[in-house]
């Protein structure tokens, strides 16, 4: 008879093995999908790796694509530590992009142009925060399910930006494209090495470190952890549970908003529809892989950044839709959480009589 039994302790080698086995299994699964479409998976993966690591352009692109994922990963991680799901990083990113673009396009005091970039950053943080405050307050005040509300607000934010670039903020010289005018130089993040590698990438790393310190070394971080682990205990300990819920969501939203500014000011150089290819959603598997650790978010974000770089390489080379990246993301997480089962339980093959009964 086969049955499942709880492990008393988890062997370390199993814990270490799981992420690697999961990634390998996902690669195999996606490889099979590619084969169905007549694509040699080994060649396709080679193209991916070569694109990301083979050239200066590819390597800097890897950083450029990883940076917003670090931020959305953090935007999910922080509320998750307080026990909340922020599925709305995508919408918060769009609102940040919108807010920053307003400053970039309409702020025109000639003597104060050096203030534009800092102002854009500040207002992008605020835009993302404001958007996250809606589900946060509804959750704290009415216990409204934040998963559904954050997600639905994504659609609203995306349509809002679409409205702007088709309507009031559409550029004069963009023909029929849903674009605003290009930003002026003073509203564009400085770039390095003659590539698209912009200063926002470095800032993203710093934000991850700051959040790491905030969550692990301060009393606020401790409060977040207690609320996430045991809301009742938090109240007995005198922690303002609602305050923590709201603030964790707001910090997450602000960071996602900054990612939005980074995309428009560092990459697109204008507001446009499709600001992000779904970085907000990618933040979810990133946060899950990182298990709440902001530094681990950086590592996980690189994995998915590689996927996006590789995904666009595969699109140009083989015509495979970037959607394959989503499949890979979902599979990795499913394999990992499935694998977690084996850290907590073991399967016992025994006689008819279960042990201990």
């Amino acid at each position: 008879m086969i049955r499942v039994e709880r492990r008393l302790e988890t062997p370390r080698h199993i814990q270490l093995l799981i992420p690697f086995v999961s990634i390998a299994a996902s690669l195999i699964f996606v490889g099979i999908l590619l084969m169905v479409f007549g694509i040699n998976p080994i060649e396709a993966y080679e193209t991916m790796i070569r694109r990301a690591f083979g050239t200066k352009f590819g390597l800097t692109e890897l950083f450029v694509k990883t940076a917003p994922i670090i931020l959305t990963g953090l935007a999910v991680t922080i509320p998750l530590r307080a026990g909340l799901w922020n599925i709305g990083a995508e919408g918060q990113l769009y609102m940040g992009a919108f807010a920053a673009s307003v400053v970039a396009l309409y702020f025109s005091v000639p003597s104060l142009l050096f203030l534009v970039l800092p102002l854009m950053a500040l207002i992008a943080l605020f835009g993302g925060m404001l958007w996250a405050s809606i589900p946060a307050i509804l959750k704290a005040k009415f216990n409204l399910n934040e998963i559904i509300s954050t997600l639905l607000l994504n659609y609203v934010a995306i349509y809002w930006v679409e409205y702007l670039v088709y309507g009031p903020m559409r550029g004069k010289e963009v023909y029929n494209f849903p674009y605003s005018d290009l930003f002026n130089d003073y509203a564009i993040l400085p770039r390095f090495f003659g590539t698209r590698f912009h200063i926002g990438v470095i800032i993203a790393f710093f934000i991850a470190i700051i959040i790491y310190i905030l969550l692990t070394k301060t009393s606020y971080g401790f409060a977040v952890k207690v609320v996430g682990a045991n809301p009742k205990a938090a109240e007995y300990a005198g922690i303002n549970r609602k305050g923590v819920i709201i603030s964790a969501m707001l910090i997450g939203g602000a960071i996602a908003g900054f990612a939005g500014m980074m995309e428009v000011s560092g990459l697109h150089l204008r507001l446009r529809s499709a600001v992000s290819p779904g970085y907000g959603y990618t933040g979810i598997p990133v946060a899950l892989l990182a298990k709440g650790n902001p530094l681990a978010v950086i590592v996980a974000a690189f994995l998915f950044g590689l996927l996006y770089v590789g995904g666009s390489a595969m699109q140009t080379t083989y015509g495979i839709p970037v959607a394959i990246v989503d499949v890979f993301q979902a599979l990795v997480v499913l394999f990992i959480i499935g694998g977690d089962f084996f850290t907590k339980y073991r399967i016992v093959f025994s006689g008819l009589r279960p042990r201990g009964v």
Binding site: Y159, D326, G338, F341
Partner: protein, 307 residues
């Protein structure tokens, strides 16, 4: 009057996918399993159904295939959450990514193609009644099937042994287990039913309502259905009202757009999402979510073990 009867007709057609998916999710949630992956399950059903109808020319095979595609995805959910006791929210969210990703990848070749879609059936005599016939009796068969499903599920959930067991495992799995009810089996099965119905919902979307396949065709309807489950207080008879209401909202935004009211397209598209949040808020404030929600919803059941 013409406007109203065609609005009613269109609302019922648009509401039918919502109804199927909501009813399916009610069953799954009644057993205690939350399937947040509804969006992914629906979109998979939509693409599979469209593909099968495109290839075979038979929309009914498409609908059936859509149902089974949904069932397949739900099997993953059931295996992870019921058998492996994994977190239901995480698995569900990954199901969304998986469904949207897979369909975006596999469905790229038949974007813009025309598949044989479900034809409306005019009910004799009744469909000849002026206005009323137009509104209620000229639908495709799945619209009628959806209406029929409501009392059927109500009966199953409230009057049969299976319904009682479903209720028991969703409210108090420990007690149910003690009484000899196979908690995991009931839950697994309930998730599968939910997936099958959500798959059919998706297939109806692509084969009867939208009549096309586009990437991400469901456009958030799965999430709206999750809200509708709460709105309906986990009762099938209330789900139909919510589903048709939201179907109507969807249609109305298009009709007002077509009427040229000067409101931009994007604002119209926002309306269903905003209204969903408001409706959810209303349900929560009125405390419906507390009275109706199965007590063990979202919690994996792990039998206590002695070592």
């Amino acid at each position: 009057m013409d406007f109203i009867s065609s609005l009613i007709a269109a609302s019922m057609r648009a509401g039918t996918p919502l109804l199927f998916a909501t009813l399916g999710e009610i069953i799954a949630e009644r057993s205690g399993v939350l399937n947040l992956g509804l969006e992914g399950v629906m979109v998979t059903g939509a693409m599979t159904g469209f593909y099968v109808s495109l290839v075979t020319g038979n929309p009914w095979l498409g609908i059936l295939a859509g149902g089974f595609a949904g069932l397949l995805l739900a099997t993953i959910h059931a295996f992870f959450t019921v058998s492996l006791k994994v977190d239901q929210a995480v698995t569900g969210l990954m199901l969304v990514l998986l469904g949207l990703g897979m369909t975006g990848f596999l469905g790229r070749d038949f974007v813009g193609k025309v598949a044989t879609y479900l034809q409306p059936v005019e009910i004799p005599v009744l469909s000849d009644i002026p206005y009323i016939g137009e509104a209620f009796f000229k639908h495709d068969p799945l619209v009628y099937a959806g209406i029929f499903l409501v009392p059927l599920l109500w009966y199953i959930m409230n009057k049969t042994r299976y319904g009682m067991e479903l209720f028991a495992v969703g409210e108090n799995p420990e007690a149910a287990d003690t009484m000899g009810i196979a908690v995991d089996k009931i839950r697994f099965f309930a998730v599968l039913i939910g997936g099958f119905l959500a798959g059919i919902a998706g297939a109806h979307l692509s084969l009867a309502y939208a009549k096309v396949w586009t990437d991400g065709l469901t456009a958030g309807r799965g999430w709206i259905c999750l809200a509708l489950v709460i709105f309906s207080g986990w009762m099938p008879q209330r789900a139909i009202a919510g589903a048709y209401l939201f179907g109507g909202l969807d249609v109305l935004s298009f009709k007002l757009q077509a009427a040229g009211l000067g409101v931009s397209y994007q604002f119209m598209r926002m309306v269903p999402y905003i209204v969903t949040i408001l409706v959810l808020l209303l349900s929560v404030i009125r405390g419906k979510d507390k009275f109706g929600a199965p007590s063990a919803l979202g919690k994996p059941y792990i039998r206590e073990q002695r070592f």
